[in-house]
């Protein structure tokens, strides 16, 4: 307790300096939190990918379709529990900058396979009873002001409608809830039966998503599926959903590395600033520290006094910085739709707290040691 009183008395002595140091640490942790949300946005979905889900696509590329006939063959493979398919719709709402993803799905197996999209029974029935019905996520509601019952016109540069135009229209049947953080709520899901009829039964789909019985067997099942179509005109490539999404994120760039480099640069500079201030503060107080020792403070006592001061400053700055980052991230994605998944993952918050203690130690240890080693007689004479 007496240490705390002393620490706060010391911090109050040069209020401006303390405030500036705390402010610069706030900025460091604000950036740390904000950048971790940006990183999460770029690696969209990897964290919530289901371990028991595989994706089977055309081996040539994702834009090449896979025959609808593959479905029965995949279902026959041992270890496969449920098979459904999705297609990329790629519609434009009013103008291309309003981009958001739309997928064509089979409603019932889709909802079964992806429990992270939650609908009430009534909402589900509503969707199943309307062939032109779609379900959308919360962030589309916020972005375009859509609600249940609205009719959404989309222009698809890829899919011609049966009437020979590229114009489509869908009804919002329901707004799905995300079962956990990290689920993309900027998507629209369209019914396959309606899509298939309107495009004139093309007999091919974008890719298959399937559930397997045992996630540990993922590699074997994937190999079995690809072997089944080897040397056919439509060879496949099957991989776990997480690997697929990670591969996609890798294409965007090595975001993790870039963000890591920026965070290191930020912490290095903050370390310099805060470390320098602490060193200056201690050397300025040589006399007092010597007096403390002279009146009976032990070496470890003085060491913990200085380290404690360092910890109070970094904890204050780090805590406020992380809080501020959380507030800014909650306010939403700064890019207006480009990063639909935007939150600070819990493990990064924990890492932030670890960093607070690490920074406190690194900043405080040198001045604390020099304070501990202070010879009373020398110091008092200075």
């Amino acid at each position: 307790m007496k240490y705390l009183t002393l620490i706060f008395a010391n911090l109050r002595r040069k209020k401006l300096r303390t405030a500036l140091t705390v402010l610069s640490i706030i900025v460091a942790f604000l950036l740390f939190g904000y950048l971790s949300a940006i990183k999460t946005g770029f690696t969209a979905g990897v964290e919530v990918a289901g371990a028991d889900r595989l994706i089977t696509r055309n081996k040539v590329s994702l834009i090449n379709l896979v025959p609808l006939a593959h479905k029965r063959d995949i279902e026959a493979i041992e270890g496969v529990d449920l098979v459904t398919h999705q297609s990329w719709f790629g519609g434009i709402y009013q103008q291309p900058t309003n981009f958001f993803p739309q997928f064509v799905v089979e409603p019932e197996p889709f909802l079964d396979l992806y429990p992270e999209y939650v609908l009430t029974e009534a909402q589900k029935e509503n969707w199943l009873s309307n062939r032109t019905g779609v379900i959308i996520g919360e962030s589309l509601v916020n972005r375009f002001g859509w609600k249940e019952g609205d009719r959404i016109p989309l222009l698809s540069p890829i899919w011609g409608n049966v009437d020979g135009t590229q114009d489509w229209a869908f009804d919002v049947s329901a707004v799905y809830e995300a079962a956990e953080e990290g689920v993309d709520t900027s998507q629209m899901f369209i019914r396959y039966d309606y899509f298939d009829e309107a495009t004139g039964n093309i007999g091919a789909v974008g890719w298959y998503t399937l559930r397997i019985e045992d996630p540990d067997q993922a590699a074997e099942v994937a190999a079995d599926i690809d072997r089944a179509f080897a040397n056919s005109p439509d060879e496949t490539k099957t991989e776990p959903e997480g690997a697929f999404l990670q591969g996609f994120a890798n294409q965007v760039g090595n975001i993790g590395f870039i963000i890591g480099a920026i965070v290191s640069a930020v912490f290095f500079t903050i370390l310099l600033v805060a470390g320098n201030t602490m060193a200056y503060t201690v050397s300025e107080r040589t006399n007092e520290l010597a007096v403390l020792k002279a009146i009976g403070f032990t070496d470890t006592g003085v060491l913990s006094l200085v380290l404690g001061e360092s910890l109070v400053i970094t904890a204050l700055g780090g805590g406020l910085g992380l809080l501020l980052a959380w507030l800014m991230v909650s306010a939403g994605d700064p890019t207006n739709g480009a990063l639909p998944i935007f939150y600070i993952p819990p493990q990064d918050l924990i890492l932030g707290i670890v960093l607070i203690f690490a920074l406190a130690f690194v900043v405080g240890i040198m001045p604390a040691r020099s304070a501990m080693r202070l010879q009373v007689s020398d110091a008092l004479r200075r």
Binding site: R17, L20, N64, P96, F99, P233, I258, V273, Y280, A338
Partner: protein, 396 residues
């Protein structure tokens, strides 16, 4: 006037002379600013690199013809007859008998990135041989051009660097087939260098496209004939197409990525800059307080507050300038020309590019450093000038 000037010069010299005594704290503020500038220049150079790759190499007289309503080559489609009519349109440049127009297909193939080993959407472009004359500065740098009608490819230098198995003598996997790489080509920078090229008819067969194409790339006799060419095509009842200049098309494609990276980069730089201002303020307040007596003495000797303010600001700006130069220099050394690949969302295909640390960016970085230095020095300078002389002399 002269008196003020000479006061400024002598006080500033005085304060700079004492700088080595505050080396630790000055260096930390300087390196802090260097870090901010390095990050800012580094991140923005990614956006610059993408922009200059996408737009840098377009010939002013080059045009593209797509199906009306298609926003990218990927979603476009032109029948064989339509393609023929377009290549016979007026206003196209010629080289001897050949019309400088290339009928092209644009698809993607899976090929692993060298850096991660995971698949990338590598653009495969089926072209007419005239494509080599339509593109700016096309040159085979290794090997030879592909032969018509044979399943073989030439690879752009960028693609060859970033994707594995794309060197001369390798073969590219296309579904169950393997097409040998017979040449490496360059187009003097530009987006084509991220692509793999083959004969259009071979690509039509492999991707079951019949006799259809996705776009026509052509060179006009002069940029001025664009309107006439466009009108001729869009008013032709046999066609349903849109005509854009190559420059306009690629600028549009890079806009999204450019804005995203520039926006995020600027936001990060501004927040970091705020942190650096706090650091600089700390350093300068410390500097001023350690010189309280000295400054008070000068004031007592008859120096005005103007020169005192100026000397503190000058010190802060000088530190910031040094930090800015170090940061900009580091960014230039570390990032300029650094090669990377990313996904162009507009075409859903990979582009390879080099980070571009250019002069305007370096100047912007140093200017930002000076802004940080200015704010970091201003308030301590005002405090130095305002401290009552009698009070300050008694201190310490």
């Amino acid at each position: 006037m002269f008196r003020a000037l000479s006061q400024i010069v002598s006080v500033t010299r005085f304060s700079l002379a004492s700088l080595p005594q505050r080396l630790g704290s000055s260096a930390s503020a300087m390196l802090g600013i260097a870090g901010v500038v390095a990050v800012m220049v580094g991140v923005l150079s990614i956006a610059q690199g993408i922009m200059s790759t996408m737009t840098g190499s377009a010939k002013p007289a080059n045009v593209m013809v797509l199906r009306s309503g298609a926003d990218t080559e990927m979603t476009s489609g032109l029948g064989g007859d339509e393609a023929r009519i377009i290549t016979e349109a007026p206003g196209l440049a010629r080289n001897g008998d050949e019309v400088l127009a290339s009928r092209e297909l644009f698809v993607i193939i899976n090929s692993p990135l060298k850096s991660t080993g995971t698949d990338a959407n590598v653009p495969l472009r089926g072209v007419d041989r005239t494509a080599a004359q339509v593109r700016q500065d096309f040159e085979i740098v290794e090997g030879r051009m592909f032969e018509d009608g044979i399943a073989e490819v030439i690879v752009g230098v960028g693609a060859s660097l970033e994707f594995s198995g794309m060197n001369l003598g390798d073969s590219v996997e296309i579904g169950s087939e393997r097409w040998p790489v017979v040449g490496i080509f360059s187009t003097g920078g530009g987006v084509s260098e991220s692509e793999v090229w083959s004969d259009a008819r071979v690509v039509q067969d492999a991707f079951r496209r019949g006799n259809s194409y996705q776009s026509i790339h052509a060179t006009l006799t002069s940029p001025d004939s664009f309107v006439a060419f466009k009108d001729a095509l869009t008013s032709d009842p046999r066609l349903n197409v849109s005509v854009v200049t190559e420059a306009e098309y690629y600028a549009g494609q890079s806009q999204l990525l450019y804005n995203l990276i520039t926006g995020l980069g600027t936001l990060i730089a501004l927040i970091m800059g705020l942190g650096a201002i706090f650091g600089a303020l700390n350093t300068m307040y410390t500097a001023v307080s350690s010189r309280t007596r000295e400054i008070a003495t000068l004031r007592a000797l008859g120096f005005n507050s103007g020169p005192v303010i100026f000397s503190v600001l000058a010190e802060s700006l000088l530190l910031a300038l040094a930090g800015g130069l170090i940061g900009a220099g580091l960014a230039w050394l570390a990032f300029d020309g650094f090669r990377a690949a990313t996904l162009n969302f507009a075409s859903f295909s990979a582009i390879t590019f080099a980070f571009d640390v250019n002069l305007p960016l370096l100047i912007a970085g140093i200017f930002f450093a000076l802004v940080i230095g200015f704010f970091g020095g201003l308030f301590p300078a005002i405090r130095a000038a305002r401290t009552p002389v009698a009070h300050a002399l008694r201190e310490l």
